[in-house]
Amino acid sequence: MLRQVEGSKAVADTVAACRPQVICAYPISPQTHIVEGLSQLVKNGSLDGCEFINVESEFAAMSVAIGASATGARTYTATASQGLLYMVEAVYNASGLGLPIVMTVANRAIGAPINIWNDHSDSMSQRDSGWIQLYAETNQEAADLHVQAFKIAEDLSLPVMVCMDGFILTHAYERVDVPERSQVDKFLPPFVPRQVLDPNNPVSIGAMVGPEAFTEVKYMAHMKNQLALEVIPKVARDFQKAFGRSSGGLVRGYKLDGADTVVIALGSILGTIKDVVDEMVAADIAIGVIGIIAFRPFPTDVVRTALSHAKRVIVLEKAFQVGIGGIVIENVRASLRGSSTKDYTVIAGLGGRPITKDSLRQYLNRACVDGVEDLTFLDLDQELADSEILREVW
């Protein structure tokens, strides 16, 4: 139903429409409104037969999810930032055990210094965790991706992280066609677990694996994760048929025809980037955009094809690897292997710093004539940073 609704509420209602059987919740900004919404739906009887567990930590949240999923329940939780890091051991465990848990990450920076605002440092830190990672551009897509996430997770028996920008999306009120339960029921069949804890057919789950088989187990996990490169687009196509709108998939191109310069980004910043690109295209600059929706598994081949005519690639990232530089760029470079395409990284929006059209326009105009460094921190107060570094070192 088309509604003017907060992003978190849209996600809560969508998750509810997916008929989860166990939801575990621990508060952390900016994720809290999602589980608050679900708490209300369970309490008022709208989610009959669903257990809502208020746990004592994010580590417990993911652990409860592991137990519930292994017992055959459709399981959901949500977190952000420090909370995601606090549950990391269990995050890896969930994927290692092949449990199709769906978790929203309301993207937020990681401290110190403590910062509650948006960037992608949290979910990017989990890119090697074995989870599928999907990034929403809009609240409509955030809602839709949750429906798709349960389908993808349960088809592959792998956990899926749906990443949506904290505050920018979670707290934004806008028009969302919130999926209805009757629609979702036709799209998402009841959960049939691959393996389940059952006294009538007892299995041991979580055995210790030694050197003789560990490599094989990890290889299989990789290959299974790669299967998602087929499943994610298929689920997106099926979703379009069922719901009549395009959401999800691996990547989304914008004005790529004849684009010499291609900007790559993830999440809600794509809207601002497209606005700037529209203006630049109107000024006869050959520039286009690729939005990456599925960051794990990384759609290397799809990105390679999309970049086959590009002369330069600019990757805008809301996180980075201290000591090296960009994260997404490293993945994109795998798609550029053997090509002469130049690449630039711009780190922007850290800890919630607004990424303005003006700053973006200036940067992109310079980048389009190769007038930028390989690595740029957008809107950095260089003078302040340099003086502080000097003061600390000497």
């Binding site: 575990c24 208020n54 519930a68 804890l197 007892p202």
Partner: protein, 335 residues
């Protein structure tokens, strides 16, 4: 099975003697049709108290639930020796996730069963003392506080045995571990530290808390069966001697566990909703020294110099337990 102790005056022991009992009073392990929740072939050390305790506890739980149990196991010896892939000694539905999250995973299993309407299937969480009193303590307290329908069993061997005998929050004072070495002026683990988890469990006012040892396995069986008659969070703390970590003879596991109770160092009791409801009286009181001297982890108390000062402190701990839990009902408590 009756929870009342059955006395065999001819041997002066609670042990064996099943053939003298009516079938319903016999130990579950004496039944040729027993379920073997943890079956043979696993890789526990000879004389492992934990393997013994786990088998008795889980088979009792199966008896009490018509075999409908799911167990969640913390990382530790019990997990490692029972499931080296591709082998498994478990004949029950069994899940191992991590070291510090077994109570929370068990909560998740219970929640899923409730959501699925399968309330006849019961959930058991289990782990060693490291998993229970230390790294999984937050998760355990959360499970207690929410009164989730889980029986959690701690097999307490008083140190991190799987990683090579390091101190845990359950390591007793003066005990030598790899991280509380028997060197210096005050050798072994320090006094005045550590957690009394049964008391902490009671403070959550959960329906049922009990302690037990592998010296009285019929008592352990009875307590597990009793625990399964409650809904909500339940906790059983089982003392399981570890020949490797304690430096004791494999054949002395039961004897040492019995001396722990008969000295008063390990009080055996039950509590409901935060109040002690019963304690098992000491039958033949011994000095703590009888318990200590069988274990190399305490050998520094006897050689090269006898440390009466430390032994007296440990005796005082035992004496306090005897009076606190009324372990010698007819006496003031002195030896």
């Amino acid at each position: 099975m009756s929870a009342a102790p059955i006395k065999f005056y001819q041997v002066g022991s609670f042990a064996i003697g099943n053939r003298l009992l009516s079938p319903e009073d016999r130990s579950i392990q004496s039944d040729p049709e027993r379920t073997n929740a943890l079956t043979s072939g696993h890789r526990a050390c000879q004389g492992c108290g934990e393997a013994l305790g786990a088998r008795y506890a889980l088979d009792a739980a199966m008896r009490a639930t018509d075999d409908k149990i799911i167990a969640v196991n913390a990382t530790g010896c019990l997990e490692v020796f029972s499931t080296p892939y591709p082998e498994s000694s478990w004949r029950i539905a069994w899940l191992h996730s991590l070291f510090g999250n077994a109570p929370a995973v068990a909560t998740g299993v219970a929640a899923a069963l409730k959501a699925q309407g399968k309330s006849d299937i019961r959930v058991i969480g289990q782990g060693g003392d490291g998993a229970t009193v230390d790294i999984g303590f937050g998760a355990l307290s959360g499970m207690f506080e929410r009164n989730d329908d889980v029986l959690y069993i701690c097999y307490d061997n008083e140190a991190y045995m799987n990683t090579g005998v390091q101190r845990s929050g359950a390591t007793p004072p003066a005990a030598r571990t790899a991280t509380t070495q028997a060197v210096g002026e005050n050798p072994g683990n320090v006094f005045g530290q550590g957690k009394n988890l049964p008391r902490i469990a009671m403070a959550h006012e959960i329906p049922y808390v009990a302690t037990a040892t592998v010296a009285d396995l019929r008592d352990l069986e009875a307590k597990v069966i009793k625990a399964m008659s409650f809904r909500g969070a339940r906790y059983i703390h089982v003392l399981v001697p570890c020949p490797l970590g304690w430096g004791s003879e494999s054949c002395d596991t039961i004897k040492i566990a019995r001396l722990a109770t008969q000295s008063g160092l390990f009080p055996v009791f039950e509590a409901e909703s935060g109040e002690v409801t019963s304690s098992t009286p000491i039958r033949h009181r011994v000095k703590v020294e009888e318990y200590l001297k069988l274990q190399i982890r305490y050998s520094h108390l006897f050689s090269p110099n006898r440390r009466d000062d430390v032994i007296d402190l440990l005796q005082a701990t035992a004496d306090k337990n005897i009076s606190r839990y009324n372990l010698i009902p007819d006496e003031s408590g002195s030896i």
